[in-house]
């Protein structure tokens, strides 16, 4: 479906409800996002970032019809501040965490966004300048770096766990936020030797709430097994195959599985302040990927297999039968997406990225053989139905570059991994979509029965919005769009909590 068709069908749908345009003008608290002299690309305005303000919109403009059963909070997180005192970060990953709550209620959809008050954010907000090195920008520290948490931006994902929403960042501790107000309450401290250990932004939550996570730093890995309410049940710290970055992982019925990409690090250049962490990364294709497989019941039972190199950030899901693990992820060729493409975007340039492709890996634990297959679509941010995490799944959902010539992920796609068939909808040029998550329909039990919910940016309107799709009928177009009267910075990841 092209953009014109999409908007025509939407107009028809909205026409029936005859929504008056006066519903648009809603109170917005917080300063309006300001212009930046350091960034000028209206196609990617969200990369301009905000200036530390908290924003609240009582009621987004609804186009279409919100499903009556879709109720809950969609928490998202992403880097929201890129400039201080005339200095702009070189990299998208560097910005301070801005957590969003999109609330779906009987009154419609509200939006609140609040910066995570990390120690770094508070100190830099007060000083009106950057004080600490960033992941992708080499800055000589102006305050002592006490630990990895001195650089903690809490900017990568948000998930509800127990009484808090956690703002996650892979290099350090999780931050605890109030689920209602999004105010920062403190950091998660597992105590003793675990204090300050990295806690990744990609925990895997099984349907019963069992919560798995990991962290890596300087050649060591920690794995965590948490209860559904966030109590630490088990953990282990061990040496891992060397890599400067392990972003995500997958869980099967029996194993935790890591694809460890061959990323070296010129630590001397980082210490000397010459290079950022990302700038100091070195792609070592000849080393290949190390596949680390950890037994869920006994973390000391570990195995490493090898496969040819590619770069991977994100995984969809994994499951296993008879000693054969099947997992899906999104691959790119190497580090170029991170150390070339993203810095160009941050400078306001329009650059084409190397494609990111859905990739399927088979790990045969009986033979030690690893197989890989990829599809051709350009996509990212895979998610599956939360009811199939760590067990056999059929579908994977992605934002996808759906319109020929589009320089963004302008559509959504459901992939049927059994038949290879896809269900795709395009929103067209000028639209960039972010991660979309599946929210099961109450009372349903079948995988995929639910709504696909995500957010995006509309360059023509310079506004951000949330989308709701019938997950099994994406090509029919969105069921509803909730538009904000402003734009927000892009997010990375989040979770919907019904």
């Amino acid at each position: 479906m092209n953009r014109r068709h999409f908007f025509n069908s939407l107009t028809a749908a909205a026409g029936a409800a005859a929504l008056p345009s006066t519903l648009l003008a809603q109170p917005v608290r917080g300063a309006a996002p300001q212009a930046s002299p350091l960034f000028d690309n209206r196609a990617r305005t969200p990369l301009r970032g905000w200036h530390g303000q908290d924003v609240h919109c009582e009621s987004a403009l609804i186009e279409g019809k919100l499903p009556a059963e879709l109720r809950g909070v969609f928490y998202r997180n992403g880097p929201g501040l890129f400039e201080r005192g005339g200095q702009r970060y070189d990299h998208w990953f560097d910005g301070d965490g801005l957590v969003h709550a999109w609330r779906f209620t009987d009154q419609g959809v509200s939006h609140r966004a609040r910066f995570v008050k990390t120690a770094k954010f508070k100190a830099e907000q007060e000083a009106n300048e950057f004080l600490y090195p960033a992941f992708g920008t080499a800055i000589r520290p102006k305050r002592p770096l006490r630990s990895n948490d001195s650089m903690n931006t809490a900017n990568t994902s948000a998930v509800r766990l127990g009484d808090h929403v956690l703002a996650l960042w892979e290099g350090g501790s999780a931050h605890r936020l109030d689920p209602e107000t999004l105010e920062t309450r403190g950091i998660v401290d597992f105590g003793g030797a675990l204090k300050g250990l990295p806690f990744s932004a990609h925990p895997k939550i099984e349907p019963d709430g069992t919560f798995w996570n990991f962290g890596t730093l300087f050649g060591k890995m920690v794995v965590y097994h948490l209860s559904p309410t966030g109590d630490l049940k088990r953990h282990a710290v061990f040496e891992m195959p060397a890599s400067a970055m392990v972003h995500d992982f997958v869980v099967t019925e029996r194993h935790l599985v890591f694809l460890i990409p061959p990323i070296g690090l010129d630590m001397a250049a980082v210490r000397a302040g010459q290079k950022s962490m990302i700038g100091a990364m070195q792609w070592r294709a000849a080393d290949g990927i190390k596949v680390l497989i950890v037994d869920k019941d006994d973390f000391s039972k570990r195995r490493v297999l090898e496969m040819p190199a590619f770069m991977v950030f994100h995984f969809g899901n994994a499951w296993e039968r008879d000693g054969v693990i099947r997992l899906d992820c999104v691959k790119t060729q190497d580090l170029a997406i991170m150390n070339e493409w993203m810095p160009r975007l941050m400078r306001g340039e329009e650059a084409r990225e190397a494609p990111s492709q859905a990739t399927f890996v088979t790990v045969n634990l009986n033979t030690g053989k690893v197989g890989v297959e990829s599809r051709s679509e350009d996509l990212e941010f895979p998610r599956v139905d939360p009811r199939v995490v760590a067990r056999r799944n059929r579908y994977v959902f992605y934002p996808v570059a759906a319109t020929r010539g589009a320089n963004s992920l302008d559509g959504v796609m459901r992939l049927d991994t059994e038949t290879g068939k896809t269900d795709v909808a395009a929103m067209g040029n000028g639209i960039s979509l972010e991660e979309h998550v599946l929210v099961p329909k109450p009372g349903s039990s079948k995988e995929g029965e639910g709504w696909l919910v995500g957010v995006g940016f509309d360059a023509a309107r310079q506004q951000s919005f949330a989308t709701v799709w019938d997950a099994m009928r994406l090509s029919s177009g969105p069921v509803a769009i909730a538009r904000l009267p402003y734009w927000t910075p892009y997010c990375f990841h989040g979770h919907f909590h019904a």
Binding site: P144, R146, G196, L217, V237
Partner: protein, 140 residues
């Protein structure tokens, strides 16, 4: 970051007896103390060799929220670098987590900042003499 660079068991011995009568008493004002728990440890180092390992002089005081003043009696005139630790659990050392990264607050004279490791001795070095007896170190 190598474990050894961050784990400095700098106060294994609190060298109380080394005071030299003719030298002025040095005070180190430690700000940014988050809570009244444990001790504030101060160590003075007089050379790059042994930096964060073998202090020339060390002292401690009870922690209280805000600013804590620690006195070092009798440091001979010269150049020193100070390290400060908020020893929350009172074990006379800077604790580290399973990755060797400090898990208690610390700081250095000159507010010297290391980049993914402790700062150099030279960056934290200050002059100590009869006109220079008060120093401020921030924990942050």
């Amino acid at each position: 970051m190598p474990k050894s660079s961050f784990v400095f068991a700098l106060l294994a011995s609190l060298a109380q007896g080394a005071a030299m009568a003719q030298s002025p008493t040095i005070t180190v004002e430690v700000s940014g103390v988050a809570e009244a728990k444990g001790y504030i440890l101060v160590a003075a180092f007089d050379k790059a060799e042994g930096w964060l390992k073998r202090p020339a002089q060390a002292a401690r005081a009870d922690a209280k929220a805000g600013t804590v003043t620690v006195t070092l009696p009798g440091l001979a005139d010269g150049e020193y670098a100070f390290s400060v630790v908020h020893d929350l659990n009172g074990n006379n050392r800077l604790d580290a987590n399973a990755l060797g990264i400090p898990s208690e607050p610390y700081g250095f004279s000159n507010d010297a900042a290391g980049n993914f490791g402790p700062p150099k001795f030279e960056d934290a070095r200050v002059k100590v003499g009869k006109d220079a007896t008060k120093f401020v170190v921030k924990l942050n």
